[in-house]
Symmetry: C2
Subunit: 348 residues, 2 copies
């Protein structure tokens, strides 16, 4: 008998007929600092070994932060357990229908983190369920490659990080050390440079820029002086990163300072990819070996004339013509489920 | 009768003979975020209008933080009142001997701050005492010019800020907006760039550097990975800025990355000075008018072969040959007292 914990989170299973939930399921979970998503998908469309181009999601459950570094181990586990139970309950299934679970959770950075969460996960599900635990970059990668852990994933939202994976299981990362330690291509990095440019224009250290009026108007401030108080009133990185669209629109209007900031960010992001691809030899010696480059996050979204992602691709492709950029069509939680499916397939 | 507050802080006055403390005094106070210093000096050596080259300090009292932004208005006032009473008591004098008080306190950024503290100060001292309130940059300036509020002061410790003052009372500032907003020449800025260089060397984005082994050894860490945790464990800027001497010693050993970081910092600091001097026209149209440049703070201390302050001077002097660099020989609290003495002299 598996333990019943967490306030009877699995109680719903008792009310289901023993034969119910006949179809075998996979759970895929993407756990981030702002939210956690768990999806369930049937395993049968894949049993012939060919992946459905648009994998059918049976149920989708959402919860809050599941990064143990942010909310602590206990709260993170409660969130993970609840969101998995919720997805299963929505699917009309019980844990006995689950064939595999893949958790991709931010904050899982060391093998010890992975092992700890894996042991906890195994205690929740029946012994025959295959359990996998990774960090959230893996889900982002798999969402672009439909479950294959090979290539490079560049994530640039509030923060930025690049991961790379070889087919024989090696991996490498670049950036992701936070704003103090030079993640200058991140949304936070771009916006902090824009705020700095406003201060420098104001005190005479830098050229005048359209960023001044645009940012002051957006923040409803009357003078660049007030930016100092605004910045320190709330140290949230996301709040600062939210200014990126203003920087992009100033650059599109031809502002040289804003253009310079975005060009620098492109260089930084391309440098991250270059570092990972080189270290792992992902594109071979001549840079021409084919290798997926999955691009994820608000900074890389292709909805603007000044397209940061497109310029990163163009810079990276010069050195590595084999790079194949991919903008994922499914969400990371689906990527996690597809990864589990791939592992199952390889094992059988 | 003046109010007695603050737990009888002025009680010591009752035990003094009415005729005691015969000599007239000036109080000078330098209030910072880490500590507050108050000194008393006799006014008589100055009564002939010529300043003693080494002003005699009668008493010196030290207390903690008096920045109202950091500890709140009440705690800041208690600290200020205690440290003034302590200096007077050590001098064997009472408030009736005081001719002038000059408080130079960090966090006094607006005329409203100044007016509020001035009213509070006037209520403590007899009506005939001249009271002056400024921010702490003024004390640093006056410590270099022996009480004259004219020229430019460059402060570079954990943070950095530049102030300029014209003889007709105009002033300007540059930088001082904190690390998020680009105070890159500060001790924090230099050290953050060094930490970033270690991360970039480690993940392949930047060249190898001597900073890696030097910084890891100093922090007793075994891998650059651990720097991320170290940085976020304690957000104190001073803790990061304390790494500056390591950057300087790596630069002295010929490390190119460390040299690049220090060269950039020199450019930044010189740019701050240039901005203030230009806006106020402190060196005239041809840059040749004589103007003091007071240099204060750990980053500018002239105790190393790689002398940041000297290189800033050399860069600034190219554009403004009239600049006269000064490294203060007295402490800022003495500067504050000399400033009060100068104001008294101008009034009489």
């Amino acid at each position: 008998m598996k333990r019943e914990r967490n306030g009877g989170v699995w109680d719903f299973e008792h009310s289901m007929a023993p034969a119910s939930g006949g179809q075998d399921l996979i759970l895929g979970l993407d756990g981030g600092t702002t939210s956690t998503v768990c999806i369930s998908m049937p395993i049968f469309p894949f049993t012939d070994g060919v992946l459905h181009p648009d994998p059918p999601v049976l149920a989708r459950a959402i919860a809050g932060c599941s990064n143990h570094n942010s909310v602590g181990e206990t709260a993170a586990r409660e969130t993970l357990e609840h969101v998995m139970a919720d997805a299963l309950s929505q699917s009309g299934s019980t844990r006995s229908s689950v064939r595999a679970v893949c958790l991709a959770v931010s904050g899982v950075n060391h093998p010890t983190d992975q092992e700890r969460i894996l042991n906890w996960l195994r205690a929740i599900f029946p012994n025959e369920v295959k359990c996998f635990v990774h960090n959230d970059a893996v889900a982002a990668m798999a969402s672009g490659t439909m479950g294959k852990l090979h290539g490079c994933v560049l994530i640039a939202g509030t923060g930025t990080i690049t991961y790379g994976y070889t087919e024989d299981g090696r991996e490498a990362r670049a950036a992701g050390a936070g704003p103090v330690l030079g993640d200058w291509g991140s949304g936070y990095g771009i916006a902090a440079m824009a705020l700095t440019a406003v201060i420098r224009a104001y005190d005479g250290r830098g050229p005048q820029t359209l960023l001044t009026s645009s940012i002051l108007q957006a923040l409803q401030l009357s003078s660049p002086d007030e930016l100092i108080g605004w910045t320190y009133a709330d140290p949230s990185w996301a709040r600062i990163a939210a200014l990126v669209p203003i920087v992009v629109s100033c650059a599109e209007s031809g502002d040289e300072v804003a253009n310079g900031i975005l060009h620098d960010a492109v260089q930084e992001l391309a440098e991250s990819v270059r570092a990972v691809v080189s270290r792992l030899g992902l594109c071979g010696e001549d840079g021409k070996d084919r290798c997926p480059l999955v691009m994820v996050g608000g900074v890389l979204e292709a909805n603007k004339k000044w397209d940061i992602g497109k310029r990163v691709i163009s810079l990276v492709s010069k050195e590595f013509p084999g790079m194949r950029p991919i903008r994922p069509k499914v969400e990371p939680a689906v990527g996690a489920a597809l990864l589990a499916w791939n592992f199952l397939k390889e094992e059988s």
